[in-house]
Subunit: 491 residues, 2 copies
């Protein structure tokens, strides 16, 4: 399937109706068997895989990302859909729980059966930097569909044709398994996006994007007459903390790894290391500077992002104490940006407010040079909470344990002797963190548990067995993980 034109903008006053139809489709969707739901996710995966060539071609033209990266991202995206299919089949995501009546309890209690049910229509705002994995058929869509919710995607203007094509393939795949037609929809335009967040039938929103845009939509969602959950993955200044022992043992390799990581994909990752905490006078600064020197520029996603990158680097470089070691060159025509490298001392960092160090979305990193272990830890705490922190240390140094513990207080993921870029799609992944990295630190936007955002519990008290929803009957329960009278039982 090849499509040349994106869908036209959606009139804002049409969006409430879209959400209303979505809600009706959702009622049908949630009655269909879990095995069917898993199959639907697999059909979408298969349909996308089979059109990988045209998808990657269109994505490349719209995003300037290299084909190999896009191919890998598409594979990750369809693997993600398949992971959620397995989550649906496994069944523990329902959190099925039964307590039989107990007259001897304090106080005595009747029979109660609890299960999670889909929350209803989910609005999805994807990101420009992952045109597959965090867009039309990305993590929010996959986890919402897995939860049993209908989805309404707001098209991202960074890749409108790709979005239209992906949406057509998703629609086709869902139709092939007879999904309710309105269970998936796409809208376009800024005012339509706002209308999606405020539409009465919208029950939750998943968002990946900037802190500014995310905050505006979060505020809208919370100021509704009936506030709804808004799961925003915003920006993040992720630190790489390098101990003196690590610098001494393998400083050169770390320097090259850091530059590889912060320039990967032109630095357009929310998990990019944006700050490197290095020991002063260890040679780390000059090693990093040397590693940056020969890096070629790469084209950025959009002219707005390229301009934003230039502005962010300028802004951070004007913070008192910050020195520009290597300035970025951003070509407004080709959008090619070369990497920037800045530095500040930990002492100077501690003298400025943490929000002065805003995210530089693009290939830029700020070196923070510290004098003592305490200064390193203080600097880590001075930074805003983040999605991920890398800890580069030797296992036997006492500082390692302190750093790991402190990093776990400041970020949703802690990486040992590795780079924060790259987010695995597994049961154990947590892609989240305290504000400003997300709007909802107790939830994740990547990994099997992302479904939990879009499910709401319901308890049935004393309902005769025959009248229970099929998923709560003993016959179904015996096939899945469930808790009975307090005890977890396997199928």
């Amino acid at each position: 399937m090849t499509i040349d034109e994106p869908i036209p903008p959606t009139p804002a006053d049409a969006v409430a109706g879209v959400a209303e139809r979505s809600a009706i489709a959702g009622e049908l969707l949630k009655e269909l068997p879990l095995d069917w739901r898993a199959g639907m996710l697999e059909s979408i995966a298969q349909r996308l895989d089979s059109d990988a060539d045209p998808l990657v071609e269109v994505a490349g033209a719209e995003t300037h990302l290299p084909a190999q990266r896009l191919r890998g991202e598409l594979a990750r995206t369809t693997a993600q859909l398949r992971l959620f299919a397995s989550v649906v089949r496994e069944g523990s995501f329902l959190e099925a729980t039964v307590d039989h009546a107990d007259a001897t309890a304090t106080p005595p209690h009747p029979e109660i059966r609890r299960i999670l049910q889909p929350i209803g229509p989910v609005g999805v705002f994807g990101a420009s930097n992952f045109p597959f994995a965090f867009s039309v058929a990305g993590g929010d869509t996959a986890s919402a569909l897995a939860a049993g919710c209908p989805v309404i995607v707001k098209l991202h203007e960074g890749h409108p044709v790709l979005s239209t094509m992906t949406a057509a393939l998703v629609t086709e795949a869902m139709a092939s398994v007879d999904a309710p037609p309105d269970a998936f929809a796409m809208i376009r335009g800024r005012s339509a996006g706002i209308a999606l967040v405020t539409a009465p039938a919208t029950r939750a929103v998943g968002f990946t994007g900037s802190e500014r845009g995310g905050r505006a939509l979060f505020d809208l969602a919370q100021s509704r007459p009936d506030p709804i959950p808004f799961y925003g993955e915003l920006g993040s200044v992720n630190a790489a903390a390098i101990t003196p022992a690590a610098a001494q043992t393998r400083g050169e390799a770390i320097a090259v790894g850091l530059v590889d990581s912060y320039t990967l994909g032109a630095g357009q990752f929310c998990t990019k290391p944006g700050v490197a905490l290095v020991p002063a006078r260890s040679g780390m600064r000059s090693s990093i500077e040397a590693a940056v020197a020969d890096r070629a520029g790469q084209p950025m996603l959009t002219s707005a992002i390229a301009a934003g990158f230039r502005a962010a680097v300028d802004e951070v470089s004007s913070v008192p104490g910050v020195r520009m070691l290597v300035d970025a060159a951003v070509d407004p025509e080709t959008l090619v940006a070369t990497p920037a490298l800045l530095s500040i001392s930990a002492e100077e960092l501690l003298a400025v407010a943490s929000d002065a160090l805003r995210e530089m979305f693009g290939p830029a990193c700020l070196i923070v040079e510290y004098e003592t272990d305490d200064e390193l830890l203080a600097a880590l705490h001075a930074l805003a909470p983040a999605l991920a922190i890398g800890v580069h240390a030797e296992p036997d140094e006492p500082l390692a344990q302190r750093l790991l513990a402190d990093a776990a207080r400041r970020a949703g993921r802690v990486v040992w002797n590795g780079w924060t870029t790259g987010v695995a799609v597994t049961w154990s992944m947590h892609h989240g963190g305290a504000w400003p990295s997300t709007t909802a630190s107790i939830h994740t936007s990547v990994g099997a548990t992302a479904t939990r955002r879009f499910m709401t519990p319901v308890a049935f008290q004393d309902v005769p067995h025959d009248l229970l929803p099929p998923l709560l009957k003993d016959k179904h329960l015996s096939r899945i993980v469930r808790r009975v009278d307090g005890e977890l039982r396997l199928p």
Copy 2:
């Protein structure tokens, strides 16, 4: 222990410091073993039980609730603390998850270990109507402490001496097991409460109370520079839906049960049936009216609540179509209120906006008379989402299944042939619902899973086994429920 005077009001500008000390205590608290944490919860339960007599006496004087009810509520409260102790010992609330490195996965992934950790200081705003179960040592406090969070309670002015006494006992019990002294604190006053929601160190808020008060604090929490989760259990208009078959088979018994339920505790329950949907011309209306006739008045909690009850009944009775069958008499001196009964036809109900039917907190119920099954279902949908709905039906009538399914769309709990008042404290309980019944429909304020509100995930990537937090080491994991490489394993 007997205390005569409540604590004095807390200066608002002192609250940020209280929260800051709480955060420091929280860092110590979360390092203590889970078995210790469970023991701390049990110590609190034991301390409260051993002072049951003075507690019930003071509670009775402040709330006008009968001693027997208060004794039962205290037993429920300490059973709740013990349930959370068992939740902590059982360990599945940590959601420990391990994925070993897999080079063959798409894409390949490193080792990742995920666990939930305490979110930090939790502000607790209790309710007047449950001076034990939803106050100082109630569900929010118990679940936050179980999650490993320090707690700061805002004293409820409905029972200030009881609150002070309970807080002293909690403090004493925690000191007896050497808990960090600032892990529990209590503040007093309206401006102090506001300061608690906005204090930088406060990480989450649990609230039980009115929609108006809850909305104001929710808005404050969401408009912080760093929004925090606000778990508010607000008000609820809970329906009891009675089918024609049920009315015919056991109409008299249902009528008496309804009146028992809506006048219990002077109707001061968030789960009180506030609306009864009954078949027109079935005799249900007159049966209910007859059952109300001989009911004595009961004293309400506070003069503000008594006045609010009077105003709410007046307001609902002025909604077009509503008829007053039995008016309430509220004595402003003794606070004794007799029950009110109002009625409207389903047709008239469908003609007015659902929010016209606000909660009447107190002994009042609105009868809605429907003509057809469809009108019954339409009336159910016209009401705002609720905490609980009772379905009174015969198991073999087709309407029963439709009603149950529709009720599950409109409420967090569905009760079959029973009354919604009474919330069991079990693993399976869900006490929640969509706005306006709560501010966070995906979470519960009662039951074992209430801890999830106060825990945030963290993932450790490639961290050497020796350097992992103790709870994520294989030795601990083997003793608890955990997921390894996608598969749930029992201890």
